[in-house]
């Protein structure tokens, strides 16, 4: 193993890791937003919205994220959508992970005990007040861990945008392999950096989960 080379190039990988983190954060924000909207649609009183939500989930979970990304980035210009690679990466991955988050959030909301809703409605709370004050706070606690799983998948999924040449960790590793012919070392650096990002995120999720535990 060429450790000397690794020590020489790793600062460039750190910069790329920052791009991966940035990508993950933006994707995560977009994903959570899509997830919230998707869950709201899936649980809506209106049939059409329920249908839209279900269609969103099945389309984006039913096709490879890579294909979705390619359609957006390479196919987009054909239908008038011009995005740079980074934008396409964020939007493509965000909307994709949002479909998974839709199901996570919906699952958490419907697993709040029905008696909770009944007790709130019995006191005279409206549907919306019941959701805001009773169902949602409890669902939020339930969804932290499963959303953590989605976020873990999301971070690993950012590697896909190397395929549309966003200069993040995986792409950087590939580029250095092109000039050094040392795939083992280069992927090892990338792998370790992914692990650090994912480990850190996992700890943050666990911390949130502990804090949100009902006494």
């Amino acid at each position: 193993m060429d450790t000397e080379l690794m020590l020489k190039v790793y600062p460039f990988f750190l910069k790329a890791a920052l791009v991966t983190v940035e990508l993950s954060i933006l994707t995560g924000i977009l994903g959570l937003s899509c997830g919230a909207l998707g869950a709201a649609a899936r649980l809506s009183r209106f049939r059409f919205l329920r249908f839209l939500g279900a269609a969103y989930v099945s389309v984006f979970r039913g096709t490879p994220a890579l294909i979705q990304l390619f359609i957006l980035y390479f196919g987009g210009p054909q239908i008038g959508i011009q995005l740079d690679a980074f934008q396409a990466g964020v939007i493509g991955l965000g909307v994709n992970i949002g479909a998974y988050m839709t199901e996570t959030m919906r699952g958490a909301i419907i697993s709040v005990d029905k008696g909770q809703r009944e007790a709130a409605r019995t006191l005279g709370l409206s549907q919306f007040q019941t959701f805001r004050k009773v169902t949602l706070p409890q669902a939020m606690r339930l969804m932290i861990r499963p959303l953590g799983v989605n976020i873990n998948a999301l971070i690993k999924g950012t590697a896909l945008v190397a395929a549309i040449s966003v200069v993040e960790l995986t792409y950087t590793a590939q580029r250095y392999i092109g000039s050094t012919y040392k795939p083992f070392e280069m992927f090892l650096i990338a792998g370790v950096l992914y692990m650090i990002i994912i480990y850190g995120t996992g700890r943050a999720v666990a911390w949130l989960d502990r804090r949100a535990r009902i006494v």
Binding site: Q116, E118, A119, A120, T122, L123, G124, K133, Q138, I214
Partner: protein
């Protein structure tokens, strides 16, 4: 409101789940301050009837009236929501499984609804919580979370939560059925206290002794109909219907 109108009236209530008719043309009235027990075998429709009164389980047909106002009015969705939320503020309900809000302290369980719906200040809310919790003997636990309470304590808090809305009527659906036997009495005592204060109550229960000691009237239901009703001494001591006799006999054997 006419003078002759009963405080609570259920008129020809029918409830179907698909093909199955769970309530078959039930009518009953309850006067202000009256305490009524509903007894009957499992599946006879007691909960369904009780939950129809605050429209938690809407009736298929029939009317529910409270203090001269139709509870289950026919209105467009939005207007109905407003109307029913208003009505429910007057109808307290206590559940078998307490259904306290686990993410809120005892205090916030009691004050959440009054704060949201009556716009009372934090100070008034604190006073209300203290007053209601003292009433059920739970003042010392005001800053606890539900998970830190025993079943009996939870149920007493749930009663305080319902009373904090100053309801005209209280519904109890087997309030003590989920409790360990030694915790039943503390909840019964609270209910007795309410009875002494002339709270109008409809109590679904399996506890015949309790029903006999606090209720003015007992309704025996079976198969979705009211089989027999009357003062407890009549229904319990001298039932006129075979079905009532059988039920009471079986129940006595079961209790032993």
């Amino acid at each position: 409101m006419t003078a002759s109108q009963p405080f609570i009236e259920v008129r020809q209530a029918r409830k179907c789940y698909g093909e199955i008719e769970v309530l078959k043309d039930i009518s009953l009235t309850v006067d202000r301050g009256q305490i009524v027990a509903i007894i009957g075998p499992s599946g006879s429709g007691k909960s369904t009837l009780l939950r129809a009164i605050n429209d938690l389980d809407p009736l298929t047909a029939g009317e529910v009236w409270l203090d001269g106002v139709r509870v289950n009015k026919t209105l467009p969705h939005r207007q109905y929501e407003k109307h029913i939320n208003q009505m429910r503020q007057h109808i307290g309900m206590v559940f078998q499984h307490f259904n306290l809000f686990p993410h809120l302290t005892v205090r916030d369980n009691v004050t959440m609804a009054p704060k949201l719906l009556k716009g009372i200040s934090d100070k008034e809310a604190d006073r209300l919580a203290e007053e209601q919790l003292a009433h059920v003997g739970m003042l010392e636990r005001i800053d606890y979370f539900p998970s830190q309470l025993s079943g009996g304590q939870k149920q007493r808090v749930a009663i305080a939560r319902a009373l904090a809305m100053k309801p005209k009527l209280m519904l109890f659906d087997e309030a003590t059925s989920a409790l360990d036997p030694e915790l039943v009495e503390e909840v019964n005592l609270v209910m007795k206290k309410l009875a002494e204060e002339h709270m109008t109550m409809i109590i679904v229960t399996h506890e015949m002794d309790f029903a006999a000691s606090v209720c003015d009237r007992v309704i025996f239901m079976d198969g979705g109909v009211v089989v027999e009703e009357g003062p407890p001494e009549l229904v319990f001591r001298n039932p006129t219907q075979d079905r009532t006799r059988n039920f009471l006999r079986k129940h006595l054997e079961g209790a032993k």
